[in-house]
């Protein structure tokens, strides 16, 4: 698992909010054989600009190659890798687990201990939500597994650079001194 995590890098990109941008980005990944682990996109405070957070698997290609190919897309305005230590990362989980009268209170306890909440409940199941770091979400998923997970949807990571690094946001075009 940790080896897999080392292969995952976060790319954050500001793109023009135009028709077909998602297809251009997804198509580039497909035709160059780059792997996407997760992808989240929505407009920013500026309605003309959307932010993509893409978690990529660098097993398929060096990160700098992925970033510079994406940077060539005309609609990509700014792009860079987010160093996890310099980034705020969140993910949202919705998951429905089996819950009977004996397990119900234990599930509620676990969910609230990790900062999640119950969004729906029935006689035999509970649906919970948790917004948190990907690690916290991994933990909750792990803990709930023994009760029997019925369905799960994770949003994929969204991320922002921490404010003190925002000033050094670069387009990535000239940063080629480091190739590791």
């Amino acid at each position: 698992m940790s080896e897999l995590k080392n292969r995952h890098h976060i790319i954050t990109a500001l793109v023009e909010n135009k028709a077909g941008v998602l297809a251009r980005i997804a198509g580039l990944f497909a035709r160059r054989g780059f792997n996407i682990y997760s992808l989240a996109v929505a407009p920013t405070h500026d309605p003309d600009i959307s932010r993509f957070t893409i978690v990529v698997d660098v097993e398929s290609a060096p990160l700098h190659q992925i970033v510079s190919q994406l940077d060539k897309l005309i609609n990509v305005v700014e792009i860079k890798e987010l160093d996890p230590t310099e980034a705020l990362e969140r993910e949202l989980l919705l998951t429905t687990v089996n819950a009977d009268s004996r397990s119900r209170s234990e599930i509620i306890q676990i969910v609230s201990a990790l900062g999640g909440s119950i969004v729906d409940a029935g006689i035999s199941h509970i649906t919970v939500e948790l917004a948190g770091t990907p690690d916290t979400i991994d933990t909750l998923e792990e803990l709930l597994r023994s009760f029997g997970i019925v369905a799960t949807q994770r949003t994929g990571r969204v991320a922002l650079p921490k404010l003190r690094t925002e000033n050094s946001f670069e387009t990535g075009s000239r940063n080629f001194k480091v190739f590791n």
């Binding site: 198509g27 510079s68 190919q69 005309i74 190739f179």
Partner: protein
């Protein structure tokens, strides 16, 4: 000024200085063909849309300006997909305008509807679907800007029929504003300093010159840099003519069918200075064995090329011409700082290296068997045509054996005189590309070296050449086979020839040429080669097709088998020491 979208489109193209459009009308583009009747732009009516695309490429390659093609929706648009992919691979600036079904019909599987922006997303630098006629002038300005700036390449503008018909208040385009389109012109000064240091320390340096040198019109700058340093030059398939073959420092073409000296000089170099080249697999062979001991300086305008195949020691990201000029300037500066009194660091003290290279040139020159007097060797045809040309004749080729022989045996002493399909390897490129080149440079003679297989793919464009009075000369090296495939089947598939025979007589090329309004000749013996070329040279009012019946068994050598190390180069039919 109130105009239709179609009128606005033509006006926008005129505004960009477009002189010529290669195209073919149809339903969805019909409104645009009407105002064309009043335009100053020349339209060349092709016989197949693929021809329009390759003509536009030929035009772009010899002029340095964007080639323009216009076709209708659906099959018109899909027929031009191959030229777009070809232009993308070879970084050729192309603006293709396609008609589209009305916006109200998009997505309904309407007659001649196809999602051409979707199809061409991966084979254009960018494409646009224009949904509002008011956007036409800005979109066309953006299209030309994107096609011709940074690393050049093709773009496509898709215009629905109702958008062409809409009435708008036409306004000239604003200044192009594309916040996401970025490229760096000037190389980083620190990187230039590092590069100069590597060059001054090198003992076995080679300039590995690619098509980018031609795209950035950097031939003159390169000549100065080579004179300054004394470093030998290899010119890739895309860069033939970027540095003159008759200069003793020119080693010719490297790669799978490169000559021994060019290939081996790269392999044994200690510093490879890649200028506008991209470490294509046809040049590198097995990448892990490619120039193993060399440090690499990589100059390219496309940052994504840096480290894509080979991680360089120094990257010069910028326009090739600027990088070359900055190297010249930086070298003068560094040399004067580093040299001791009475010592000259430039040109480099690499006499041993040059001697080694010269001995390879002597031992392993490009050669073919001239002992058989009754068969026409294809190499002899190319040498003869080349020798009988005025300086600056443009030569175009298709793809296959004849292309490699043309690159090997034509004497390239001028830039922008060689047009071929390198990256995509598009058979059938030569005839339309030659016509486009002649349109771009009517002052030059244009010869196409073509194969019989290639010729059959796009020959009908010679009708266009006759109808539009664009005389070109086509030399078919007719070996009755898909020759390159035959060569691979002979060498790597135990002579099991599968689906490669074409016949020398079917079609009758002379009759076919005459039917298309051209002059046709057939050449069966070596003695007729030169007189027939001379006859063809005299004909300037019609296109000429010469059917040269060449040796069927002739193969392209040297050859590095696919996926093998360049050290395993086979020099001739009898192995290395031929």
């Amino acid at each position: 000024m109130e105009l239709t979208g179609a009128q606005a489109l033509i006006k926008s193209l005129e505004h960009q200085g477009v002189e010529v459009i290669f195209g073919l009308p149809g339903g969805a583009i019909l409104p645009v063909y009407d105002p064309l009747l009043e335009s100053t732009i020349r339209h060349i009516l092709v016989r197949h849309e693929q021809g329009a695309g390759h003509m536009a490429e030929g035009y772009a390659n010899v002029t340095g300006r964007a080639g323009v093609a216009m076709v209708t929706s659906g099959p018109g648009a899909t027929n031009i997909v191959t030229p777009l992919a070809n232009a993308m691979m070879d970084s050729t600036p192309l603006v293709v305008v396609t008609g589209q079904v009305p916006t109200t019909s998009i997505g309904t599987d309407a007659f001649q509807e196809c999602d051409i922006t979707g199809i061409t997303m991966g084979i254009t630098k960018h494409n646009w679907l224009v949904k509002d006629a008011n956007d036409i002038s800005n979109t066309i300005a953006e299209a030309f800007y994107v096609a011709t700036h940074g690393r050049p390449g093709p773009v496509l503008v898709d215009i629905p029929k109702d958008v062409s018909n809409d009435l708008i208040d036409y306004a000239e385009p604003d200044d192009v504003s594309l916040p996401g389109f970025k490229y760096i012109s000037e190389p980083d000064p620190e990187a230039v300093r590092q590069a100069c240091k590597l060059i001054l320390e090198a003992k076995r340096p080679v300039f590995y010159v690619g098509g980018g040198v031609l795209k950035s019109r950097a031939s003159e700058a390169l000549k100065i840099l080579v004179e300054q340093t004394g470093i030998p030059v290899v010119t890739t398939l895309m860069a033939r003519g970027a540095f003159p073959d008759d200069n003793p420092l020119c080693l010719g073409m490297p790669g799978m069918h490169g000559n021994y000296t060019a290939v081996t000089a790269i392999q044994q170099s200690d510093l490879l200075i890649a200028l506008g080249s991209r470490f294509d697999d046809r040049v590198t062979g097995k990448v892990s064995e490619f120039a193993k001991h060399a440090k690499v300086i990589h100059a390219d305008i496309d940052a994504a090329e840096i480290g894509k195949v080979r991680v360089p020691d120094v990257a010069l990201i910028g326009e090739c011409r600027r990088s070359i000029e900055e190297l010249t300037r930086g070298l003068t500066e560094s040399a004067s700082q580093l040299s001791k009194p009475n010592e000259n660091l430039l040109p480099l003290d690499i006499g041993d290296w040059i001697n080694q290279i010269n001995s390879w040139k002597e031992t392993y020159p490009l050669s073919y068997d001239k002992s058989e007097s009754d068969t026409i060797k294809p190499q002899y045809v190319i040498e003869s045509i080349s020798n009988l040309q005025e300086e600056g004749t443009i030569v175009v080729s298709g793809v296959g054996q004849h292309q490699m022989w043309a690159s090997q045996y034509w004497k390239f002493n001028n830039p922008y005189s060689w047009v071929n399909s390198g990256g995509l390897g598009t058979m059938g490129f030569a005839v339309p590309a030659a016509i486009g080149a002649k349109v771009g440079r009517p002052d030059k003679a244009v010869w196409a070296i073509d194969g019989d297989g290639c010729f059959q793919m796009t020959a009908q464009e010679l009708i266009t050449s006759s109808a539009e009075n664009i005389p070109v000369k086509i030399a078919i090296l007719n070996n009755a086979y898909l020759g390159m495939v035959r060569q691979w089947q002979q060498m790597f598939y135990e002579e099991r020839y599968s689906e490669v025979y074409l016949s020398p007589d079917l079609p009758d090329y002379v009759k076919w040429a005459e039917a298309m309004g051209c002059v046709g000749f057939r050449v069966d013996t070596p003695e007729e080669v030169i007189p027939t070329i001379e006859k063809a040279n005299e004909i300037n009012d019609k296109s000429v097709v010469i059917d040269f019946r060449t040796d069927i068994t002739e193969k392209v050598f040297p050859m590095v088998p696919a996926g093998k190390s360049n050290d395993e180069i086979i020099v001739g039919p009898f192995g290395k020491k031929s």
